[in-house]
Assembly symmetry: C2
Homo-oligomer: 398 residues x 2
Amino acid sequence: MPNHRFTKDLPFSDAEYWRRLIKTRAAMAQQGLDALWVTDPSNMAWLTGYDGWSFYVHQGVLVLPDADPIWWGRNQDSNGALRTVWMDDDRAIGYADHFVQSTERHPMQDLAGRMADLGLGKARIGVELDNYYFSAKAFMTLQSELPHAALIDVTALVNWQRGIKSEEELVFMRRAAKISEKIIAGLIERVEPGVAKNAIVAEIQRDAILGADGHWGDYAAIVPLLPSGSDAAAPHLTWDGEPFKTGEATFFEISGCYRRYHVPLCRTIHLGKPSDIFVRAEAALLEGLESGLDAARAGNRACDIAVALAAPLERAGIERGARCGYPIGLSYPPDWGERTISLRADDETVLEPGMTFHFMPGLWMSDWGLEITESILITEDGPAQTFCDVPRNMFIKP
Amino acid sequence: MPNHRFTKDLPFSDAEYWRRLIKTRAAMAQQGLDALWVTDPSNMAWLTGYDGWSFYVHQGVLVLPDADPIWWGRNQDSNGALRTVWMDDDRAIGYADHFVQSTERHPMQDLAGRMADLGLGKARIGVELDNYYFSAKAFMTLQSELPHAALIDVTALVNWQRGIKSEEELVFMRRAAKISEKIIAGLIERVEPGVAKNAIVAEIQRDAILGADGHWGDYAAIVPLLPSGSDAAAPHLTWDGEPFKTGEATFFEISGCYRRYHVPLCRTIHLGKPSDIFVRAEAALLEGLESGLDAARAGNRACDIAVALAAPLERAGIERGARCGYPIGLSYPPDWGERTISLRADDETVLEPGMTFHFMPGLWMSDWGLEITESILITEDGPAQTFCDVPRNMFIKP
């Protein structure tokens, strides 16, 4: 019987969490690890259910081969862990507040002491050297406090376990997709010359959080991106209070989010008659998307999608130079990608049913940009399924 | 004459950026640094104006004693740098996309090569070992690629330069304060038993981004936090689709944001008649806030605020155990604090005019929580000024 003081509303079944833990332990065993220290908040949540905006302080989950994971974080956030993780209450451990942003003490000193108490002083411990929120200082402190432990770089080890989605996860992603559809529909209706960009973002965020089909909306791991005209050459600009203008294209990169699961979608709205450059680029991009979707089949490789996309673009004289997609699912800021596979020419990862990607061939040229994308599911057979049902074209408004 | 291909809408005057650079260079000189590698996106923006949601890949700003800073990041994001930084266009350098999330290459290899080309191969280079987004792997790669350079930990060096706000910055913060006031007014009007939490957050986000007083709203570095009832023991829970309930208190931690400048504010709404515990806690907290504001004077120390707050709380039997505030200003996710001073008993930093804090004495007990806070400005004389004008009490609605 679980020992829980609080009623919990876990997103997933016990079986789903066990599936994840067993998979992760198998990967640990392959690396000969005695323990795994997970700091990426997306990995923490995927393994334990932990959900809170506390990743601005040091925290993590310790995965062990033969005992339930341990959540470790700031004392005040252990209250959040007690309410959101599936483990027994005694698996949530807090550190004292005087470790927070101190120049004399580091939270990793507390963690190292606890690891030593668990007999891990001479263990092989996997750490995420290049995942979010595990700072260089955190690593160095942990290593100096546990001088006889071997800290092994297992960046993205857990991320890789997340690649193939379960049916439970796909239910969440389909709910997120409905939110993305709603956001794009609102954009097509509302964007007009003279309307201020922030006024449009206000409605995007409202639509995103109101949710769709009776399901509430969560915050996306990235804010809406919507550069216009020449600025659309820069993929990651946010917004200001300037109006949309006739003669300019704006791409909108957004994602609905349901309980941390994302289904991003991008569409471009052109106000006024587009130039020949846009018309030709759109045609080539749509052909490339179609080819890429057809190549996105179980048994093919990630690079096959990239190569299929590139051919019609090259025929139109467009060289992209950037990857054209990444896996998606559960995420926390600053990224909604899973940071494992990249859809690009040198990635030969074999596609498997249940993998999910944002197929994202953004065109960012020196002074214009165009984004038309699809979030996709690799199926048992046939081309990829798109999560969203939104007309796949550049929207032209007078 | 500056060499800029694009028209820019820099948030601040040239004089303001020079003030910042000169201050930072003086701090570098004190540490004997030949160069400073800045990865914290808030520090990057404060020094150069760079603004984009690209901090999910490796990037940074190189500050030099005798030449303009260099922005370095992913190729596609150099388009964003060209449009947002004050330096000449040739000071924005991009790295090739095949470095992104590669297991064979690391972006720091590109950076190290460029540093070597600048003659920094044997230099003393400051790095932010415990700031955001500088991963352990990034540090180790940089060190191994520049084996003769000394990488010196200067975590928070730039953050400390940001503490005292200029008049230009205070203008932005006052605009953010108006947005915070508007958000809280909306909450007091809209929160009712039976209303879903996500529906309220949808309106918070809409109000935040519509802005106030004719100024547009930016995204805050933290999403709204609004746990209810027992969950309010956990400070960093976000929301779901459950309704607000009679008999429960909910605290709302929000921040208006104008061009990345934050003025957070928290208020608590109690639906139905509050218990004696809440009534007594509110009275003690208000007394503590009043005492703390009075202690928040130039010449006093950070700890004086914490001690002044603690006395009435202790008399009411409330021991907090967490710091009661932090500096605020320009920020990017995941935190809107500046991570330098902490308002707590062992921080003896002397308060100076122009410093700005979120005085944040949240009460997170084992099964209830109460937040009533103020964002404040330390003035030349007298007690701190509050940025917002919102009744300082727990709001009780039937």
